[in-house]
Each structure stands twice: as C-alpha cells, then as structure tokens.
C-alpha cells in the first residue's frame, strides 16, 4: 500500500507541476470582480485613492480577533479533546507555541514574501522586519491600514501551520514540531499565499479561492497526510484503545472554530460590506448542512448519530465553504455543505482505511478532502444560474478546470515541501519520541507535566 501511495504521490506531483506550464500558457482570464482579497484591488490601485474606512477597519480588526480565537483555544481544544489524556498538554502546547512562533516569523519575513512584490511564486524581502510599514501605509487593501492587513493575514499563517498538528500528534518530538513548522511555513504556506492571493501564478490564472481552501486547508491537509506517512503509526494503533478523552472539549473547540470562522470567511472580504454579508450567511448555511448530512450518514450506516460526528461535520462544512464563501449563493452553500459532510464522513472512515495511515485527528480526511471538494465545487456553484456571484459570461467548465488545476498544484507543492521538511527534521532532531516516552505520554516525557492530577 505504501509503495502504491508513493507512486501515486509522484504522479500527482508530476501532474501538479505540469499544470505550471499550462497555467503559464493560459491567457489570464480576467479575475472576476469578487475575487479573493489581494489581487483585484491592487490592480485597480491607480484609480482608487487609499483612505482608511473606520467601518472596514473595525470589522477587519474584529475578524482578526475571531481567527486568533479559532486557533487559541478553538483548534487547541478541538484537537486536545480527541487525544488521550496523557497527551493533552502536548497537543495544546503544539498549537499554542506554533501560533506564537509563526506570528513572529510572519512579521519578520512572511508578510513580505507573501504580499510584497509580484513574482510567480514568491514576493520579495522589501518589507521584511516590516520595514516601510507605518500607520499611514496601505497593503493590498485600500480602506484598512497596512498593520491591520498584516495582523489579519498573520493569523491565517499561524492557524494553517497549527492545523498540521492533528496528523502527527501523540508521537512526534516537540523539537521536530518546531523545525517542521518553520520550514513548512516558509516554503509551503508563504509561497502558496503569494501564488493564490499575492499576485502570483494561480491568482493570474483566475482561480477562485475566497478565504483559503487551497492556501489553508488543502495545504495543511496534504502536509498532515505526508506527516502520517513519514512518521508512521502510533504504537498500538488498530489494537489498543485510542478513544478521545474529552469530547465535551472537542465540542467547545468546534464551536469556537465555527464562530471564529465568520472572521475567517467574512473577514476575507476585506471590508464591512455586502460580500462579507454573503460570506457570513454562507458560513452559517454550509456548516449547518454539513452537520446534518454527516450525522444522517452516520445514522444510516452505523445506526447512531454522534456528537463527534456533528462536530466533525461542522468542520467539514466550514472547510468546504472557505474557498466558496463570497462566490456562491446561499442555496449553493447548503448543497456544498451537504456534499462535504458526506464526502468527509467517507474520508475519515472508508478512505482512511484504504490509505492505511495513522492521521491522528483526521486532518486530511476533513481539511484536505473538504478543501478539495470545496475548491472544485466553488467552480460549479459560482455560476450565476446556480445563485453564484459571477457574471453572465461565466463558463463553468473552464472555471472548474481552473479550480482543479489549483487543487493539483497545491497538492503537489505542499506534498513535496512537507516531505522534505519532515525529512530535514528527522535528520536534525529526529521525528519520533522513543517507545517508552510514547507509552508514558508526551505530557510527562516531553513537557514534564500532567494535565489532570488525581
């Protein structure tokens, strides 16, 4: 099975990189008016005079706060509750520290490389250490101060890197988490952000990705899958009980994620306006539909609808609507969510068994697969005759093909970078803890603490 996956992975990588030449040849179809945050406003720059709008700025500051809440404690608790109690603190630690680390790196060089300049894959170092950024300057958006844009985008970088935690949890060395995160952030997240949002290759190609289906979810999902592959299974996987130790906390985490996601999606409108309103409504509906379709699928196949299923369904819907939020209509969002719920249910059951890898908390099954479904279906439901926000000259077939190309590209780029990053971490600090340390629990062996003293 592993060999088959390796060959498949190489094939996808080859296909993904070949889409590079295709994308370069394709005449850049004019990006639709409501395209993702960065590109369009930057091109219209010459006409619009940048001026701080307090409504937009207030909303963007709020959105930033919401996304931070998604990571700490939302994601931390969501994952933490799924872990065994002996590893609870290690999971919380991974998320909390990654958030801190990536925030700093974002300010030092991430923002500059992602949004400064217009290379195909990387920006430039002009704004490293935030040089030249003042209270008076503007980034790609013309109605909010550049600092606000930097903060908002920084939270995306942090949560994306933290998402990968869910795949390698309960057996990875803490130092490996740090090494991998720095490398992957630098060589997978930053360029992907540039390629899709910062005037890079896929932006020019006309790919529709409102809030980060590719940049965030497929990116992290693939990195997680590769991590599960490289690290190997947890000791006792498939034989010993590894049930979640605190599903109430997982539900709290999922709820914080859902609420915070309004900042993630509606905030990606970059303004307090009708597009944000559309993204907001879609984020309610797609998620709700996915919750219902997931638990319906569970009830029909296994006989019982579960809380974990409802929480997972919500996340699947949220992931799928992320690329679509500002481009599809509300009814399209409902169908999108319902499909994502069912596909991701299969992703964490049937597909997971087929792949035979230990993705601890199903980062690929939910984020990776949900992102792929959402990205491709965005091309479908953006059609005006399906309630979408695109113009009447919208060509669904062509758009879906552009979406598929962006998906393949992301899979290839993220997969290759993740693999190399894990290998470097392995060669420098080693990836896994020892068997004794894993059995004892990472809380004690890696951090010298117990989550729940008796």
């Amino acid at each position: 099975m592993k060999k088959l996956i390796a060959i498949l992975a190489l094939g996808v990588a080859a296909l993904g990189f070949s889409t590079l030449s295709l994308a370069q040849d394709t005449a850049a179809s004019a990006p639709a008016a409501a395209e993702a945050v960065a590109a369009a406003p930057a091109e219209a720059e010459a006409a619009a005079e940048p001026k701080v709008d307090s409504g937009d700025t207030a909303w963007m500051l709020t959105s930033t706060l919401l996304v931070i809440l998604m990571t700490i404690p939302g994601l931390a608790l969501f994952y933490g509750g799924l872990a065994r109690s002996k590893n609870m603190l290690s999971v919380l630690m991974h998320v909390f520290v990654i958030f801190s680390l990536i925030s700093i790196l974002w300010a030092i060089y991430g923002y500059s490389l992602a949004f400064g300049g217009d290379g195909n894959f990387f920006g430039n170092f002009d704004k490293s250490f935030l040089r030249g950024v003042t209270q008076e300057t503007f980034g790609p958006l013309t109605t909010i101060p550049e600092y606000v844009f930097i903060a908002f985008q920084g939270t995306f970088a942090a949560i994306t890197t933290a998402l990968v935690v869910g795949s390698y949890a309960e057996r990875i060395k803490f130092s490996a988490v740090l090494v991998f995160s720095v490398l992957w952030f630098t060589f997978a997240y930053v360029p992907m952000a540039h390629i899709v949002w910062g005037d890079g290759l896929l932006a020019q190609d006309g790919a529709l990705d409102f809030a980060g289906g590719t940049v965030v979810h497929i990116n992290a999902g693939i990195a997680g899958l590769v991590g599960a592959f490289v690290l190997g299974k947890r000791i006792g996987y498939g034989k010993e009980a590894m049930a979640p130790h605190n599903l109430p906390l997982t539900m709290v985490g999922a709820s914080l994620l859902w609420v915070g996601w309004f900042g993630f999606n509606a905030g990606s409108a970059g303004a307090a306006d009708a597009v944000a309103g559309l993204a907001f409504v879609n984020t309610v509906l797609a998620t709700a539909a996915a919750v219902l379709s997931w638990i319906a699928g569970e009830a029909l196949t296994k006989g019982k609808a579960s809380m974990l299923g409802a929480a997972s369904g919500a996340i699947a819907g949220l992931v799928a609507v992320t690329p679509a939020a500002g481009f599809v209509g509300p009814m399209g969002a409902i169908v999108l969510g319902a499909i994502a719920g069912l596909v991701c249910l299969w992703g964490v059951t049937g597909l997971k068994h087929m792949l035979g890898m230990d993705d601890s908390f199903d980062v690929f099954g939910v984020h990776g697969l949900g992102g792929i479904v959402g990205a491709i279906l965005t091309g479908v439901f953006a059609a005006p005759w399906l309630g979408g926000a695109q113009g009447d000259d919208f060509a669904m077939g062509a758009q879906v093909w552009i979406q598929i190309k962006s998906v393949l590209f992301t899979i290839a780029w993220s997969g290759v970078v993740a693999f190399i990053a894990y290998k470097i971490a392995d060669m420098t600090v080693g990836l896994r803890v020892t068997e004794e340390e894993e059995r004892e629990g990472l809380d004690i062996s890696s951090h010298g603490e117990t989550a729940y003293s008796k």
Partner: protein, 112 residues
C-alpha cells in the same frame, strides 16, 4: 468477624447503604470498579474507529461485620440491590483475621 463484599449496579448504591444502616451496620467502604460477568458490554464508535467495551461500571461495597449480623447483612444487600435483570452483581463473604480502630486502638468485635 466477616468481610462482606458486594458488587452492585452503581444506581443501587444509595438503597444498599440505607438498608445496611437500618440493620445497624455503622461503616462501609465504597469503590468504583468495572467488571463483567454474564452481562454484555457495548460498542463505541469514534469517526470510524470501533471499540468494543466489555467492562461495565459497578460499585464495590465492603463492610466488616460481626458473625451474628452476617445473614441479615446478606439479606439486606440482596433485597436492596436486586433488579431481577442481568448484571445485578454478587456478594462475597470472607473471614476477617483482625480488626483495629486506629483512633482508640480497640481490636476485635469492639472495633467493628
């Protein structure tokens, strides 16, 4: 002196405790345990990972009693704890070598 150990269903604890007080048993020790006899367990499902759980939660009640009281103690626990459904539990009686009250140093029947 005998040690009477009873494994009962958790929701029966209060009833058993009251029944023991009514016949003069002054103190008991209660532990939460898990086990199974002929009662089947259940299956838990977490995102496609299935766990068969054989063990069921039970409560263990231990009381040190005088020989003269043993029969009435067994009868009291039996009546209070019985539901008639599978999994009601068991009562074990073992001989107690020695008993001592720590505060006063009393031993034997005076310590019960």
């Amino acid at each position: 002196m005998k040690m009477v150990t009873a494994i009962v269903k958790p929701f029966k604890l209060d009833e058993v405790r009251e029944a023991l007080s009514a016949i003069g048993v002054q103190g008991v020790t209660v532990t939460e345990v898990k086990g199974f006899g002929r009662q089947k367990g259940h299956t838990e499902l977490y995102r496609g990972a299935e766990y068969v759980v054989d063990f069921l939660p039970k409560v263990k009640i231990e009381a040190a009693v005088d020989d003269a009281l043993v029969e009435r103690v067994i009868e009291a626990i039996e009546t209070a704890a019985r539901t008639g459904k599978i999994g009601d539990g068991k009562i074990f009686v073992s001989t107690l070598e020695q008993v001592l009250r720590i505060r006063t140093g009393e031993t034997g029947k005076d310590a019960l």
